[in-house]
Symmetry: C2
Subunit: 336 residues, 2 copies
Amino acid sequence: MIKPTITDIANEMGITPSTVSRALAGSPRVKESTREAIERKAKEMGYERNVMASNLRKGVAKTVGIIVPRINRQFFSNVISSAESILEEAGYTVIICQSHETLEDEIKALKTMRANQVAGVLISHSIQSLNGDHILENIHDGVELVQFDRVFDNLPGIKVVNDGVNGSYEATKSLIANGYKKIGTLAGYLGAQLFKDRKEGYVMALKEAGIPVDEDIIFEDSILRATGYQSALKAIERGCDALYCAGDFSALGAFDAVREAGLDVPGQFGIIGTANEHFTGLMSPTMSSLEQRPDRMGTEAARAFLDAVEGKQEDRKIVIPMELIIRQSSSRKQQQ
Amino acid sequence: MIKPTITDIANEMGITPSTVSRALAGSPRVKESTREAIERKAKEMGYERNVMASNLRKGVAKTVGIIVPRINRQFFSNVISSAESILEEAGYTVIICQSHETLEDEIKALKTMRANQVAGVLISHSIQSLNGDHILENIHDGVELVQFDRVFDNLPGIKVVNDGVNGSYEATKSLIANGYKKIGTLAGYLGAQLFKDRKEGYVMALKEAGIPVDEDIIFEDSILRATGYQSALKAIERGCDALYCAGDFSALGAFDAVREAGLDVPGQFGIIGTANEHFTGLMSPTMSSLEQRPDRMGTEAARAFLDAVEGKQEDRKIVIPMELIIRQSSSRKQQQ
DNA sequence: TTGTAAGCGTTATCAT
DNA sequence: ATGATAACGCTTACAA
């Protein structure tokens, strides 16, 4: 199947490519009858606009790039999935790159985006990205920048984030309300604003309840299962009877440690995770967690981008509330 | 930051764009010293090749498209993730579309691919795609077609699939070996080859063991949790004491039904699922399942594509063995 | 309302 | 080894 061009159509009809181009672009400067004839012919010949040529001429592509640490994490794949649907609907093509949590690959991805003349970049930073300098250096002029989840406040553009402070505040408050006395936290790496926020909410809830904040039971580390396990062992040793975890996998590690110590969840030890990964509802006992609403984050990011390219919207920050999903691992009261 | 072109570089250096183009393309028809000077200058000016222009001129893009029903399913996001890494490594840009399990969106995605001049399409079909006609109609000449997981054998190109027959055969055999007597199956929609294969392996194992095949306990339906639950209720009614499920979610529904019936898993009822979703190892009791190796599938698909564009490889079918992961839900023997 | 013509940045084919 | 030139398919002033 060989692709016909607007010139082919024009030749077949004895008119010029300009008219065909205008007609197919929906310009009002074409007689209605001509437009119809052209559209019919185009369909008949199986015409498809050559995006490369069109973009080259126009200088920007109807393309947006999405850069995430890894596609195959539930949170990111959900964000991408919902954003893709909306962008596709609006006529955009989506190109996707993974940073694999490294600065090097993130920069490579930015270069790919630039080479492809994307109209916008939706990005959630790798763990190695400590500030946004590499973004500014590698993003083309006029490209809309939309950061989500992991963002740098000093960069221009749109930001979409969770209300992590309030989320962890609610989670911690709920642990207090369930009668847990010494509540620690697996806080994640506090270099990222994301985790700072979650720690802040945790501290806020403790203070509000008049509970002293003890740095010895605030564990700063990665949020993997293995590290969660290690930290939780220490937490138990130090007399904790509950943990708010900034990730579900570290929370899972905490489960491992608590079980190993022979403690009952939630009777003797309470746990709340973050992300509401699918498995949290399928474990036994089921795990309470903070839902991040990735679908909504993707939708908001995509919409904000579309608004921005249409000039409807200035730089801004969109905050999405988290939702505390109470399950068994933190519900002492219902049990007794 | 304004993007410099090869003409800018040429002007700066008092040479012509042709030479710059050749140098940057690695052509041998450039003096070594000139090449070095050009490369230095290009780097200094922050030059980045305009992919649009290059592709337009060359007629094909170093781009491959991936089309899947939904990005946010673990299986697909894992396939994409591993394929993306390899393709990116080889200098390809990846564009991704979702078919949302509809034929309409799948065709739309194919058109997007065509408009973007992709060099290849990696696709796993939507549930609505009953044959490959729409593929043939919408794919550009010279585009490499790579189908994975859900494939149509009558289409040309490369296919990457699991050895579903052997996988389900092993799963069923393992249930028999554990002493289960009346083993049914939640088979999925038998319109897809994928599910036909799994049924075939199931039947094969029964026949080998001299167990009669009973169509009343072969349930053809979607592989969702809810339908799994419904079918499992009937299976229990009809006297089954085990189920091989062609999906983990339908297996989860079977768990629900079996628990509701007050039966012990695996003591009184055995279950094996398919896909080895993450949650299967976190439930209690943990669920046995057939691992599909999505990473390997993505890797193989990407490699096969690269081999094909380099002319190293003809059309072929790559079969990836499944791996039976035995956990508690089907292990009667260890229990007693 | 339609046509003319130039140009987006790159590469391929000539020629030198 | 390098330069001149045309062309990829499309869009857009400008002209008619």
